[in-house]
């Protein structure tokens, strides 16, 4: 295979700064319709912008549209095909939900509008809170966190606040608990959020079967000082923690609380609820389970749900219903405080509510079933060719490794890059960290059988290539605009912005 011809104009779109031509204009404002005040009366010279915004581009509207349309074609996307990123839940993003979010009565509503004139927006928040409470089996909900990690931080801060209210802050006869237990398979955000909330992290081992090691958990709990546990369920190798009830009991008996990372809720919605398992607090990723678009890295939305006992600690303000009216309530003196200005990522709340109402109870349950079935189908289809480190049947995602292909020098990264040549976005690679050479595959419910089979066929073909022609895989991708980029050189001498001299260097 050869690399794509690069003189193609749409394949070589420059940076906008390199396209800029003095005097081009992409906008037109109405004329100023008030009497002008002399500048010197408004702003002393030393406070004024004095660089004429040097370097900011000058381009026409056509330039902008072509620029972004061209570079957009270099992106893979869900609408194009399957996006099997494990732990990311790349499901279909409905256009209907986009339309809902753009209804002027929502899109043009100022966050500080008087409550009486924003009842519809408050009702949206309230309704979504109610539905998320039902789905998780947890009574208290705040939609304020802006993303999963933000919801995590909120959740562990709630644990901190609850324990401090119960035990004091080390000033009474009870010690202040500081240890947050986190499995070695966890997302990196878990320890980072725990640290931000003032906890010391202790790592729990996983068993060879891919479950939390109960003996180790008991040992760590016996050591004392345990504030809580942060657990993903199904865990990051795609397995349901079968001892979840027992895990929660051990942590509760030790005086701690259980936080569940809800990143993998797409395996549970309509089938099982964290609140029924003994979980105290959880965050959800609306941009995963509830299909709000990832947008190339955000915005997300990370609602935090908790038991009634923990609800007083949720962020303020909270949206409450009084009779037929909705209002913002700041009067929760035990609250962890505010974690974001205004009311969270409201545009995402609209889309998530639209998702839930479009599915209804049966549709939500069906979606979960279809997602798990798709993952199981892949697990079944790839087992003959790839090492599957855990024998147990997976839930919504399945992990394989490069163990067999590694013998020929072909590793996970190479397999991922080769998958691009077959028209698929790669799976999540090298995560979770406990599985060497991990390939974590999550098809979601948004993939039909034919496409699943195409994916399985592509993966099996790559396994064959790894045996017969490893170089083909090692040098992949072959069909993209650019090849593998030298990330080490990029990190050694980082170039993080365009400067006029960059032009010369890359001409």
């Amino acid at each position: 295979m050869t690399s794509k011809a690069t003189p193609h104009v749409t394949q070589n779109e420059a940076l906008i700064f390199e396209r800029s031509q003095a005097g081009r204009q992409g906008y037109r404002l109405p004329p100023l319709d008030v009497d002008e005040t002399p500048l010197d009366e408004l702003l002393p010279a030393h406070l004024r912008r004095d660089d004429d915004l040097a370097g900011v581009p000058e381009v026409s509207e056509v330039d902008v549209v072509r620029h972004f349309t061209r570079i957009s074609t270099w992106n893979y996307n869900i609408d194009l095909g399957m996006y099997p990123l494990g732990s990311c839940t790349m499901k279909y993003n409905s256009r209907l939900n986009e339309r809902v979010a753009r209804i002027p009565g929502f899109a043009n509503l100022h966050p500080l509008a008087p409550e009486a004139d924003a009842q519809g927006a408050l009702e949206v928040i309230y309704e979504l809170q109610q539905h998320l409470s039902e789905i998780t089996g947890l009574a208290g909900v705040s939609l304020q966190p802006a993303a999963g990690a933000h919801g995590e931080m909120t959740g562990v801060m709630i644990i901190r606040a609850f324990l401090d209210a119960r035990d004091g802050v080390g000033d009474g006869d009870r010690p202040r608990r500081n240890v947050m237990l986190i499995p070695d398979s966890a997302h990196g955000t878990n320890p980072a959020s725990a640290h931000l909330s003032g906890f010391t992290v202790k790592t729990i081992r996983s068993t060879p079967e891919g479950q939390t090691d109960l003996a180790h958990l008991r040992e760590l709990c016996a050591a004392g000082d345990v504030a809580g546990l942060m657990l993903t369920n199904p865990n990051t190798v795609g397995l349901f923690e079968q001892s979840i009830t027992e895990i929660c009991r051990i942590v509760h008996d030790a005086g701690g609380l259980v936080y569940m990372d809800g990143a993998n809720m797409n395996a549970l919605v309509g089938w099982a609820r964290p609140g029924d398992m003994g979980v105290d607090v959880i965050h959800l990723n609306l941009h995963k389970t509830f299909s709000t678009p990832h947008g190339g890295g955000g915005p997300g939305s990370g609602p935090c749900c908790c038991t009634a006992e923990l609800a007083p600690y949720l962020p303020v303000p909270r949206v409450v219903k009084e009779g037929e009216r909705f209002r913002l309530d700041d009067d929760y003196p035990q609250s962890v405080g505010r974690v974001k200005a205004f009311h969270g990522n409201f545009g995402m709340h609209l889309r998530a509510l639209a998702y839930i109402l479009t599915h209804g109870p049966d549709g939500l349950r069906d979606a979960t079933e279809a997602a798990v079935l798709n993952a199981r189908y892949i697990a079944h289809g790839l087992a003959p060719d790839y090492d599957k480190p855990f024998a147990a049947p997976p839930m919504h995602e399945v992990v394989f490794t490069d163990k067999r292909q590694g013998r020929k020098g072909v590793h996970t990264l190479d397999i991922a890059k080769r998958l691009i040549d077959y028209g698929f976005h790669p799976m999540t690679i090298y995560f979770p960290l406990i599985v060497p050479g991990a390939m974590l595959i999550e098809p979601t419910e948004s993939v039909g059988r034919q496409e699943l089979e195409q994916f399985i066929a592509a993966m099996r073909a790559i396994a064959k290539e790894a045996e017969e022609d490893p170089d083909l895989v090692l040098n992949a991708p072959h069909t993209t605009r650019i090849g593998r980029l030298d990330e080490a050189a990029a990190a050694r001498k980082p170039v993080l912005r365009w400067r006029p001299t960059e032009q010369a260097a890359t001409a």
Binding site: E487, A488, A491, R492
Partner: protein
């Protein structure tokens, strides 16, 4: 196969030390640099900082990993390899030479005897695999 020079002492954290008089020169082993992959950044202490044996004196970063650097012995930093600030890749190309990291004035030279020699380190790395 990793290069393991005969004349050095090795720690279980994959640092080497070359002792001359009361000063030890410290770096990471060929085995360690291979495990890390392309090194992009090295963070080192300042002259005058003191470290106990086994304590972290800095970090070494590849594109997708960060590893702590552990002092094989106790001592005071008398010299730091400034060239690594701009050319971390030397850790990959010349781990026992140009990519030495710090020189320590040993506070307890007897600690050196507790480290591994080349043959012991070779066995240790094989056992780890």
């Amino acid at each position: 196969m990793a290069n393991i020079p005969e004349d050095l002492h090795y720690s279980r954290d994959h640092e080497w030390i070359r002792v001359e008089g009361d000063v030890g020169t410290v770096g990471i082993t060929d085995h360690a640099q291979k495990a890390l992959g392309d090194v992009v950044f090295v963070e080192l202490p300042k002259v005058g900082d003191r470290f106990e044996a086994g304590k972290s004196f800095g970090t070494v970063e590849s594109v997708k990993a960060v590893s702590e650097l552990f002092s094989p012995v106790s001592g005071e930093v008398v010299e730091v390899n400034e060239s690594l600030a701009d050319e971390g890749e030397q850790v990959n190309s010349d781990p026992y030479g140009a990519a030495w990291m710090i020189k320590l004035r040993l506070s307890d030279p007897g600690q050196v005897d507790k480290l591994m020699n080349a043959a012991e380190y070779e066995d240790y790395t094989k056992a780890e695999e």
